[in-house]
Subunit: 463 residues, 4 copies
C-alpha cells in the first residue's frame, strides 16, 4: 500500500492540469490544489497497513449485508476521492457481472485492471457526465459530434478518444480515471459506446479545475472548508490513445447503459450514506446553537428540531433497509437495494434545503454577522464582542461565535452552496432517482393490493 | 380456540350498547353492528385451529426481529379488533416488564390474565383516551373530577371506577377492555393511576357507538366500506366494580405513564404497518386509474406516481428499520425500535393527504361523478353510460367505473374521512410522534458529529 | 323575474333524468333531487325583484374592478347553479368578444340568446367536459368517434349532435345547458367544433345523476350537507337536434378553444372566490374547536392556526390582485387577471388538503367519534355523553359535539370528499392552472431581470 | 441634496469602525468597505436633483395607495442603505403618530429630526436587534444587564447609553443610526425603554463589520456580488451620550414596543418588495439556463418553472393587496396592510429555499463547476472549454458559463448564503411574521363564517 508521502510524490507525473486560467506546474506548490492533495495523502496514511499483501479496504468486495454495513464508517470517514475510488471499483465489478456472459473478454480485462489497481493502491475518479450539447438531441445528432465522448480513431492496438467529462471530483488528484458512457446508446452510436481506464497523465488529457476553497487570508473564518475541499475537474480528452487492455466496452451499444446504471447505484449509496450523516450533523448544529442562544426549551424551536430528527431518521431508515435488503450477485458481490437507496437519496436531497432553513431559522442572523476571531483578538473591541455575543451565560461568546462560523461555512457560504447543489445533482439529479425508484418498485404487487381493496380480483367475483 | 359462530353467540351476554339514540338489544339484529360482528367472526374462522392446546397467533410473543417480521402479514390480514387484541397483549407484556421489578404482584396478575385470555381466545379493546375536560388543566384540577377515569371507591376486594374513554374501536364487539391511564400522573393524582381489565358486560359499562358504515340501500355504491367498518365506542364507566385480580395498577402515579407509552409503541407499529400497505395500495390505484384513463404514459402523471412510490418506499424502509433494530427486553420479548417506528408513522401520517391529492389529481372528477352500477343496469341509459365511461379501449367502462367507486369509497367519502383523521390521530397525534422520536434519538451523538464538523472537539484544539 | 315557486313548476317539462338506476318521473317527489331543486328555488326568491324590467344580477355584465368586487358577495351567497348561470353568461360574452370580428353572426346569436335568457330568468349549466375516450388520442382518432361530442348530421335548419358531457353540476335542475367544446380542435375535427345552447328537455337529452347527499335517516348527523347538495349530471346527447339560432360555433376549429378558455377564467375566478371563503371558514373551525377543546393557547396549536391564516390571506390577496388588475375588453366587460386568478386557484387547491390536515390535527379523533344528537336525547346515556363531551367548561358539550359534526360533514365525510376532489378538479385540474399561469406570466420581463442581476445586458458590456 | 462625491467626503468624520480585527482608518482605502461606500455614492448620484429645495424621494411620505405603488420601483432600484434610510423615516413617522397623543414632545422631536435629516440628505441605519443574552430571560433579569441597550446615566441635558445592536446593515456607512428598543418592555425595565438618534461618529460608538464580499482576486468570478455587498455592523454603544433633542423615548415602557412594530411593518414591506422582484429574477434565471441547456421544452423542467411562476405571482399578489388595502393614519400617511404584508413575506421566505432547489435542479452541476472566464482566455484549454460548454448551439458557451456564474454567485456561494439567511431573518424571523399576521387577521369574522357553515348561528336555531 502507498503512504501519504508516496502519494504526494506520485502526482509529479507530467499531468496537464489548469486552475483559474493558469497551468499548474507543481500541484503541491499551489495553495488550494496542494491542500486538497494533502487531504488525500492524510487519507492514505489513515488506511495504510504495511506489508506486500496489504490491500486497501476501499478495494475489497462486500459479500453480505454485514459487509456492506461494516463498510459504512470506513466510507464515511474517508475523503471524497477515496470514496470515488471505492465506487469505481464497485461499479466495474457490477458492470462486469452484467456483461461478462456475453463479453467475457471485457470482464477479464476489468478483473485484471482491478487487481492491478489494488496492487498499486491507486486513486480512481469517475468520468461519466459528458458535455452533452443540446439535451434534446441524441449523441449522434449533435451539431458538434464531440458533445459526447467518442472514439475518433481505431488502431490495431487500441483507440483514440475525444470529448469532455464534467463535474469530475478530484480528477486532477487521482491516478486514473474510469471513463464510461454517460447513458445508454442506440444502434448507430457505436463510437459513443466506449468505456475504459485512462491514466491522468496520458498525453492529451487536460483538466480544468474549479474549487469552492476559501480565498480569505484568515483561515479561521472558514473552519470547515479551509481543510475540506476538493477541486472539480473539467476533464478534456483531446485525442487520447487508450491501449486495448484498458478498454472495457468498445461499440456494443446495448451494454453502454450498464456502466452508468452500476455507477448510479454506488454513487447514490454513497450519497445516501453521506446525507444520513449530514442530517444528523444538522440536527446537532441546530441543538447546539439553540442551547447557545438560550432557546433550547422554546416550543417552536423544539418542534423544528423534531422535524429535523424525523428527517434524519427516515434517511437512516432507508439506508438500513437498503442494506438489509441487499442482493447477492452471481459473482458473490453484495449490492444494496436499488429501491431503498434511490428513495432514501431522493428524500434526503429534496428536503435538504428545508432542513437548512430550519437551522437558519433557529440560529438567527448571526450565522452571517458573527464577528471574526480576529475581531475577538482586537484589544479595542474584542472584549466587547465577546461580552455581547454571550447569550446563554453557560456558553462562552467565543464558542457561540465558532458555532455560527461553522454553520455559515457549511450551509450559507461557498461550501454551503456546493452542498445545496451537489446534494441534488450527485448521482444524477432528482429526476433520475424518481425514474430508478419507479423501475425497481413492485408495481404489479401494488396494483394487486389496490384491486384487492376494491374487491375487483377474480376471487371477489363470486361474492 | 373459538370459532366465528361461538364468537357471535358470545356477544349475547347482557352488554349495554347504544347506537344513534337506541339501545341495541341484539347486536346481530342491527344491520350495521351485525355486519361488524360478522367481520370479526370471519377473522376468528380464518385463524381457527382445532385442539385444546391451540392458541391464537394474536396472543403469541415475538422474540426476535424474524418473529416481528413474520407477524406482519398476520396483522395486516386481520381485522381491526384482532389487531387491538394483539396490541393489548403486547402492551401489557411490555408494561409488566417495566414495572415488574418494583411491583411483582401487578406483573403476576397481568401474566395470569393474559394466560386466561389466551385460553378463552377472547377479543380485547384498548380503553385509553379519557374525556380529558379542559386540556390546559391536569386531571386533579378539572371542574369535573371525572374528566379522567378514576377510582371513586376502594373496597376490600377491589375498586369502583368512573369516567369515559373515547374513540375505542370495536369496544362493543370485544369481550374485555384493557383500561389504562391516558398519560403520566403526578403525586396527588393517585385515584387517576388506575389500570385494569373490565369485561364489556360488567354492570355500569355503557357504550355509545358511532360508525362510518354506508347507509345507502345499494351496497354496490360502497364496494370497500360495505364490509369493512367497525363501530367506534364511547365507553362510559358509570361506577363499575373491578375485582382485585383484574387491577394492574392502583395509585402508583410514577408508573401511570408506562402503560400509555407501551401502548403507543404497539399502536404506532400497527399504524405504520397499516400505512405501509395503504401507501402501496394508493400507488396501485393511481397506476390502475391512470391506465384506465389512458394517461399512464403522460409525464406529469408518471412523476406524481413516482412521488407516491418514493413515499411508500420510505414508509416501508422505516418499518424494516424498526424491526431490524428491535430491542429484546428482559423477559425475552422483542420490541420494535421506538425511533424508526415513530419517525415512519409521522411521515406516513403527515404525507397521507398529499398522496390522496395526487391520486385525485390523476383520477379526475369521475371519482365523484361516475354513475352507479344500477345506472349501468338501466336499459335506457346503461349502454350509453358504459359507452361513454370507456376511455382506454382495452379497459371496459364498467371496470373503470368500479375503480372510481373504490377510490371514492376509500379516499373521498365517509370511509375516506375516517382514514384522513385516523391516520393522523391513531396512536396519539402528530405531536406525540414528534415527542417520542425526539426522546429516542441519540442527540449527544448528533451534537458530537456537529462539533466534529466544526472542528470544535477537544481533539481539534491542538491543530 | 321568476319566483322560487315558478321555478319549481318549470321543472315539469318532460326532461329525461335518471338517478341510481331509476328514471325520475317527478323531480320534486324524489327526496334528494327535490331538496336540491328547493335550494335553487330559495336562491330565486332571494334575488327576486318584481316588475317586468327587473333582471337578475346573475346576468349583469361587470364593467370595472369595482363591479367585479361588488359582485363577490352576490356570487358567494348564491347556490351553485346560480353560479354556473352567471359563469355561462360571462363565458359567452367573453367568447363573443373574441370571435365576433371574424364571425359576427355567432356574436349576434349569442347576444340574442343572452337577452332571451335574461328575460326568462333561467338557470344555465355548463356542459364542457367530454367523455374523452383514450386521453392519448385526439378526438378524430378515437376508437369510438363519439368520445367527444360531435355533429352527426347537418340539416338546413340546424344540426344533430351526439356525445356525453361529464361532471355537469346541477344539469338536471337548470333550464338550458351551454354546450361547448372541451378543448381546442384541429383541422379535420370540424364536426367536434360545436358550441350551442340546448334546453334540458330537448328530445334525446338524457341525464344520469349522482349525489353526495346524505342517506342517513337522521338529518342532524349531516348539519351542512343535508341542505347543501346538488346532483352532478352525466349528460348524454343521444342525437339531439339544435336549431340554427342556438348554434354559436359550427365547424370553425380555430375558434373551438376560445369557449373553454373563456369558461376556464370564470370558473377559476368562481373557484378562487369560493376557496378564499372556504379558507376563512376552516380557520374559523380550527379556532372554535381549539377553544372548545381548551387548546386555544397551546403554542403548536396556535402555530398551525397561524399557517392556516397565512394560507387564507394569500388566497384572498391573489383574489384582490386578480380584480385590481382586471382587463376591460373591447365590449366594455371587465375580466379578472388570468395570471392572479390561476396562481391563486392553484395555491388554494394544492394546499387545501394540508389545511384540512391541520384542522383534523387540532380537532382530534372526535371529528369521527362524537356521538349523535340522538344519543344526547337518550335518557340512559344522554346526560353522560354531554358530561364527558364537555372540555372547556365554558362551552357546553352539545355545542362541541355540533362543531365536530360540522367538521366531519365538511371535511371528513361524503361532502368532504366532494370538496377534496372538486377543489382540485373544478376548472380543469392543477395541470391546467399551471399551464395558464405560465402563459400569462411576463417571462420576457423575468428574463430581463435575471440578465440585469447577472450583469449580462448589453448596457453592462461597457462596464 | 448631496452628491456621491460629497457623501464619500462626509465619511471622514472620525468614526470608529473595525473590520476583521483591524480598525479602518480610511474607509475609502479599504477595498471592501470602499466598494460598498461607492455603491451608496452611486445611489446618491442617481437620486440627485440640484437646488436648495430638492429633497430625497427616500424621505417623502406616501399619502395613498398610488403613492405607495409609485414608490416601489424607487425602492427596488435603490441600494440597501437608501432603503434603510427610507424605512427609518417611515418608522419614526409611524411611531410618532402612535405615541404623539400622549407624548407630544417626542413627536415634535421626531418631526424636527426628520426635517433636519431631509435637509442634510443623510443616510440612516436601523439599530434595533440587541445582543439579547439569554433569550429565556427578560432584559431586567439578564446576568449581564447590558444584554439589552440601556440608559446607564441620566444627565440634565441627555442620557448615556450602553449596549450592542447586531446585524445593522451598512451601519459604518450611514451618517446616523436610529436606535430603538428591540421589543416591548415591562414596568421595571424603564432604562431599556430608550429610542434615539445617534451619529455614527459619536464618541463611544464602535462598529465591527462583517461582509460576504468576495475575496477572490479575479472579480469576474463573482459577477453579482463583486459590486453588490454591504457590510453588516455589530454596533457597540460603549457609554455614548445622547442629547435631549435626539431622544424619542425615555423610560415610557408602555410605548417601547411601538417602534419595533412600526419598523417591522416597513422592513417587511421592503422585504416583500425585494422578494417579489427576486422571485421573478429566479424565474428568469431558470428559464434562461433551461434554454441554454437545451431543456426548455422538457415537461418536468416546464413544470418546475411553472411552480416558480406561481410562487412569484402569489408574492406579487400579496404585495398588490397590501398596497390596495393600505390604511391612512391620522397624520395622513399611508401604511400598507399589516395582514397582507406579513402573509406575503412569510410565504416568500418559507418557499425561497424551495425555489432555489428548483433552479439548481434545472441548471445542473455546472452551477458549481463551470470553468472561469480566465480559463476561457487560456490558449491551451480556452477554446476546448468554450466548445464543450456549448449546449444549445444557438447560445454561446461563454454566455452559458456566465449564467452559471451568476446563479452560483446569487444562490450557491457567499452571497447566496446571505440571501438564504436574510430572507428568513430580515424583519424578525418566520415566527414574528406568523404572530403579526395572526394579530391582524379578522378571527371573529372567520369564526362567524364557520358557525354559519355549521348552521350554529342564532338565526339557525329556528330552522
Amino acid at each position: 500500500m502507498m503512504t501519504g508521502e508516496q502519494y504526494l510524490a506520485s502526482l509529479d507525473d507530467g499531468r496537464a492540469t489548469y486552475f483559474e486560467g493558469r497551468k499548474i506546474e507543481n500541484i503541491l506548490d499551489d495553495k488550494i490544489m496542494g491542500e486538497a492533495a494533502r487531504l488525500i495523502a492524510a487519507g492514505y496514511d489513515k488506511l495504510y497497513r504495511p506489508g506486500p499483501d496489504a490491500t486497501s479496504p476501499l478495494m475489497s468486495i462486500p459479500r453480505s449485508a454485514e459487509d456492506l454495513k461494516a463498510r459504512l464508517p470506513v466510507v464515511s470517514d474517508a475523503d471524497i476521492v477515496a470514496n470515488t475510488t471505492n465506487q469505481s471499483i464497485m461499479t466495474l465489478m457490477t458492470a462486469a457481472g452484467r456483461i461478462g456472459d456475453e463479453h467475457p473478454e471485457y470482464a477479464r480485462r476489468i478483473q485484471a485492471w482491478i487487481e492491478d489497481a489494488q496492487r498499486r493502491d491507486i486513486r480512481i475518479t469517475e468520468c461519466i457526465t459528458d458535455g452533452k450539447g443540446d439535451r434534446s438531441l441524441s449523441p449522434g445528432k449533435q451539431a458538434d459530434p464531440d458533445a459526447y465522448t467518442r472514439v475518433v480513431e481505431r488502431r490495431p492496438d487500441g483507440v483514440v478518444i475525444r470529448g469532455a467529462k464534467l463535474h469530475i471530483t478530484g480528477a486532477s488528484l487521482g491516478h486514473e480515471t474510469m471513463v464510461i458512457p454517460t447513458k445508454a446508446m442506440k444502434p448507430g452510436e457505436e463510437d459513443y459506446a466506449i468505456a475504459c481506464a485512462v491514466p491522468v497523465n496520458a498525453p492529451g488529457v487536460k483538466i480544468v479545475n474549479t474549487s469552492y476553497a476559501p480565498r480569505h487570508e484568515d483561515d479561521r473564518v472558514f473552519p470547515v472548508s479551509r481543510q475540506n475541499h476538493m477541486p472539480e475537474g473539467f476533464v478534456i480528452f483531446d485525442d487520447v490513445f487508450v491501449p486495448e487492455e484498458r478498454i472495457f466496452l468498445n461499440g456494443e451499444t446495448k451494454h453502454a447503459g450498464q456502466f452508468a446504471h452500476s455507477l448510479g447505484l454506488w454513487e447514490r449509496l454513497g450519497g445516501l450514506t453521506f446525507m444520513a450523516n449530514e442530517a444528523d450533523e444538522l440536527v446537532g448544529f441546530a441543538q447546539l446553537i439553540a442551547e447557545a442562544n438560550g432557546l433550547a426549551k422554546v416550543q417552536h424551536v423544539r418542534e423544528k428540531i423534531s422535524e429535523m430528527i424525523i428527517h434524519a431518521t427516515l434517511i437512516r431508515g432507508a439506508l438500513e433497509a437498503a442494506i438489509a435488503n441487499c442482493v447477492i450477485g452471481d459473482n458473490g458481490a453484495a449490492f444494496p437495494s436499488e429501491l431503498y437507496t434511490n428513495a432514501g437519496k431522493y428524500q434526503a436531497a429534496t428536503q435538504y434545503n428545508m432542513m437548512c432553513r430550519h437551522l437558519h431559522d433557529i440560529a438567527g442572523g448571526s450565522v452571517l454577522t458573527a464577528p471574526s476571531i480576529a475581531d475577538l483578538e482586537n484589544n479595542e473591541v474584542g472584549p466587547l464582542v465577546r461580552k455581547y455575543m454571550t447569550a446563554n451565560p453557560e456558553i462562552d461568546g467565543e464558542c457561540r461565535i465558532k458555532l455560527f462560523h461553522a454553520i455559515r461555512d457549511l450551509t450559507a457560504d461557498a461550501m454551503g452552496g456546493w452542498r445545496y447543489v451537489t446534494n441534488i445533482q450527485a448521482g444524477g439529479g432528482l429526476y433520475a432517482q424518481r425514474i430508478v425508484t419507479r423501475k425497481h418498485y413492485d408495481m404489479e404487487h401494488a396494483k394487486k393490493k389496490a384491486l384487492h381493496a376494491a374487491k375487483m380480483l377474480p376471487e371477489h367475483a363470486a361474492e
